[in-house]
């Protein structure tokens, strides 16, 4: 490989298994995501990609196996504890706070970085006012990146679909993560929108020094930006490598074309 020092692992998953009753949704999965990587997780529908995300973010707790994020074992922790450690995510079926504005959605996600106490809010101390201002400014900055600052006062669900997906990313970034998990961020977008989004994701990775783990159904998109891709089928890892290697892998071709 290269002469540069090998980057450290941000996320290390080993022998991860999740069973629902008799059904194994994820089997013996291992992953090693290095700092600063743009790591793609692909596979046919129902392969278990979203289940993996749910395991990594604490929505489900694993049946077996370990998940280590930056040296801390996060398997079995609650979602909010994992988010606090620096893992943020978006959802495949958009989950914005519907009855809140675009700005409030982003401000809400900054709550975990708040250092005030309830009493500060109740009596309106200086700390409360300062923090409120900072939170708002930060949220507006994020909205600017996504070109959503002009609709900051609108209800989140009044946005067009593509913008709702982008707002979810902005909201996730407001938690100040080091690892960002994107669940089909380009779903429902036209090819041009998808390309723009991919460029934006690349830019975000560099700008915020993020590690990004991406689940995507759209092969073209994943091949275009991910440096490392892992292919999942029936809950198992069937291939791992660079986009070129993946495209030539017979097991992958079989999973995508043969089984269908």
């Amino acid at each position: 490989m290269s002469s540069a020092p090998a980057p450290v692992s941000v996320l290390k998953v080993d022998a991860l298994t999740k069973r629902f009753g008799g059904l194994s949704a994820v089997k013996e999965l291992s992953m090693d995501v290095k700092a600063g990587a743009l790591y793609g997780l692909i596979g046919p529908n129902g392969a278990g990609k979203t289940t993996i995300f749910n395991l990594l973010t604490g929505v489900y707790s694993p049946t077996e196996g370990t998940i280590v994020f930056k040296g801390t074992s996060v398997a079995g922790l609650k979602p909010y504890e994992i988010t606090k450690l620096g893992v943020a995510r978006t959802f495949q079926n958009i989950r914005l706070f519907a009855d809140m504005t675009v700005l409030e959605n982003v401000m809400t996600a900054h709550h975990i970085r708040s250092r005030q106490f309830l009493i500060d809010a109740v009596i309106g101390t200086g700390r409360h006012q300062r923090e409120e201002r900072e939170t708002r400014d930060k949220a507006m900055e994020l909205l600017k990146i996504f070109d959503l600052d002009s609709v900051a006062g609108e209800l989140a669900t009044s946005l067009p679909y593509g913008n709702q997906r982008r707002l979810e990313i902005a909201r996730a970034l407001a938690t100040e993560p080091s690892l960002l998990l994107l669940d089909e961020p380009a779903a429902g977008m036209n090819p041009q929108e998808a390309v723009d989004l991919m460029n934006l994701i690349k830019w975000l990775r560099d700008e915020f020094s993020l590690t990004i783990l991406l689940v995507e159904h759209n092969m073209k998109v994943v091949m275009g930006i991910c440096e490392r891709i892992q292919v999942i089928d029936y809950g198992k890892s069937i291939a791992l490598g660079t986009p070129d290697e993946i495209q030539k892998d017979p097991a992958v071709i079989e999973a995508y074309l043969g089984g269908a």
């Binding site: 979203t50 749910n54 079926n93």
Partner: protein, 243 residues
Amino acid sequence: MNLDAAPSILGAIVVTMGSMAICAGIGIIIERFAYRPVRQHSRLTSLITAIGVSLLLEYGGQVVFTANPRFFPQMIRSETYTVGPVQITNQSLLIIVVSIILMFGLEFIVHKTKIGKAMRAVSHNLSVAKLMGINTDFVIAFTFALGSALAAAAGVMVALAIPKIDPLMGLMTGLKAFVAAVLGGIGSIPGAMLGGMIIGLMETWIGSTSYSTYRDAVAFGVLILILIVRPSGIMGSTTTEKV
């Protein structure tokens, strides 16, 4: 027909069937005018509507019939059977038998008939059921009619056991019925029966001890204990939200 003068099984059946039919009609009307308009809103809206309807019926009854209790005619002449140490009246026996019959009848309708299948489909996913060509409005109206008719049968049985009736007699009973359903696990018919049995037996038992003044709290106490251990009730199935 003067039932007091001439108690008869036939008369009792006619009275029960009559009140079940009337309540089924009322159930359909209530569904049409109170619940159907709020169906597409949140669950909270239906919950508040349900509270409103329940209060309307109870206090509406008070306005119409006054709050004074009335005597329910003794449709069946009371007899007491003794089997060893156990004493039971024919009325209590009848109530137990009738409720078991009704439970099996309901199980049959829900699990073995076409309309029952449609009811379960609607309960599982209303919009998909509609797409599958089920007349969901009819199914829901039918469910209300069925539920109201069964509640009417229960009301007659309560009146048989405690022949002093008043418009608010269903307030606590209805509340405890809800508790019993949640306790057993919403959606499970045997669960509801089991829940009702547990609450009834616990109340009777507490009522016979020196803690009888705590009788009204027992149903809720049992409910809370069960839900802490099993949040979906004794026989309810857990549903997890898809993420």
